[in-house]
């Protein structure tokens, strides 16, 4: 399967490309002006573009050559169109390959990536046994530097709890058996522990050593992991491929999904 894709800053697009890489070849268009040349030379089976870049020429090529088209934007000019409002992050099972069960889970980790998160991070550093990481430097010896993406997985592996101040690592954390405590003012599934302000955070931090809380955490993590194994970026890609009529590719991806689920 050959996929030609424009660089699009979207969770869905990243999810699709990451999964399609496993079963096919991905070509990236750097300059959209060269789309006609790219189509003729690459001859893709699937084209992923912003809707504003889907011209009548592109549509005619796709119809004439049985090329499926996925669009990102508001116009309905592709086989499937994803609008901005549909662009949500989905769990990615690939993170399971970083799971290390030989490591003792002891830490409470906090990642700080934005200046707006400094206040909460400072508060946690002054009052609790936490370890702080991220690109915003916190003036505390509990700040342990800027990790790479791979090191983030290492950190999550050795963490029992992960305080998510909005860095969107909660799915990765849960899949690595690290319970996410999330800064959010929106209603989330009851399996998540959330806080809206420092008072809420203090209540959660005070309950971390409670035995009852430990049981709740274990149950919630199991529920979340099961849920993620049913609904994730790969199942989403499978649904998209099914809708577009890619039968053999769907089977290949389902096989790859089964390998992860059996982990």
């Amino acid at each position: 399967m050959k996929v030609l894709c424009e660089r699009i800053d979207s969770h869905i697009c990243r999810n699709l490309v990451d999964n399609l890489k496993k079963i096919g070849h991905i070509g990236v268009i750097e300059k959209i002006d060269n789309i006609a040349k790219a189509l003729n030379e690459y001859q893709p089976d699937l084209l992923i573009l912003r809707t504003e870049n889907i011209s009548s020429v592109v549509q005619a090529y796709c119809q004439g050559n049985n090329v499926k088209l996925i669009g990102f934007g508001e116009d309905q000019n592709a086989d499937i169109v994803f609008s901005k409002s549909q662009d949500v992050l989905r769990p990615t099972l690939d993170v399971l390959s970083f799971k290390d069960e030989s490591v003792d889970k002891l830490d409470v980790s906090v990642f700080v990536e934005h200046e707006s998160q400094r206040l909460v991070a400072d508060f946690l550093a002054k009052n609790y046994n936490v370890k702080i990481y991220g690109s915003v430097k916190i003036n505390s010896p509990k700040y342990l530097g800027v990790p790479t993406d791979i090191e983030k997985y290492e950190i999550l592996n050795k963490s029992k709890f992960f305080i998510d101040l909005g860095t969107y690592n909660l799915y990765d954390a849960a899949l690595l058996d690290t319970y996410p405590i999330i800064y959010s003012n929106q209603n989330m599934a009851e399996e998540y522990k959330t806080f809206e302000n420092l008072v809420g955070l203090v209540e959660i931090m005070e309950s971390l050593d409670d035995d009852k809380f430990e049981d709740v955490v274990t149950n919630n993590l199991n529920t979340l992991t099961l849920e993620f194994k049913k609904q994730n970026s790969t199942t989403f890609t499978i649904d998209v491929l099914k809708t577009l009529g890619f039968v053999s590719e769907t089977i290949k991806l389902e096989e790859s999904l089964n390998d992860w689920i059996s982990c």
Binding site: D104, N129, Y133, P141, L144, G145, V146, P147, T148
Partner: protein, 143 residues
């Protein structure tokens, strides 16, 4: 034998205690600068790579070398100040290779640091050595 991996001779207490320790025990100092007050063998810092005893450093910057010292029997990072908190740009890898590295044991300066450092590193503090206490240095040498 103990080897001290040091920055310079500005810490007079350190210099005095190394001199005193050297009267009854053999030790080497590895430093990039000349330290005339020291009455022991002072070697270039790179010589530490051939050293096969126990090595101690009190500097976070120098602690980054510890894991590379292939011949030494034990490696200690002596924490007097939390120097990593003062660095401008701190990649996690540096912390992982020093403070958190499994081959690097920790010495702290006083009892009040023990819990904090143990929680931070998930490692047991090996020694509490107040201001280069010679008795503790002897214990380390006898290990």
């Amino acid at each position: 034998m103990i080897g001290f991996l040091v920055e310079n001779g500005e810490d007079q207490v350190m210099v005095n205690n190394i001199n005193a320790f050297n009267r009854n025990n053999c030790c080497h100092v590895f430093s990039a600068s000349i330290i005339p007050q020291l009455q022991t063998t002072v070697l270039q810092r790179y010589e530490a790579f051939h050293f096969n005893g126990t090595i101690i450093t009190n500097k976070f910057r120098l602690a980054q070398q510890l894991r590379h010292l292939g011949y030494c029997k034990k490696r200690f990072y002596y924490i007097k100040e939390y120097e990593w908190a003062n660095t401008q740009m701190l990649p996690y890898k540096i912390v992982k290779d020093t403070l958190l590295h499994p081959s690097v044991d920790i010495i702290v300066d006083n009892q009040s640091q023990v819990k904090f450092i143990e929680d931070l590193t998930n490692k047991k503090v090996k020694y509490i050595m107040n201001n280069w206490d010679m008795n503790v240095l002897r214990q380390i040498a006898d290990e």
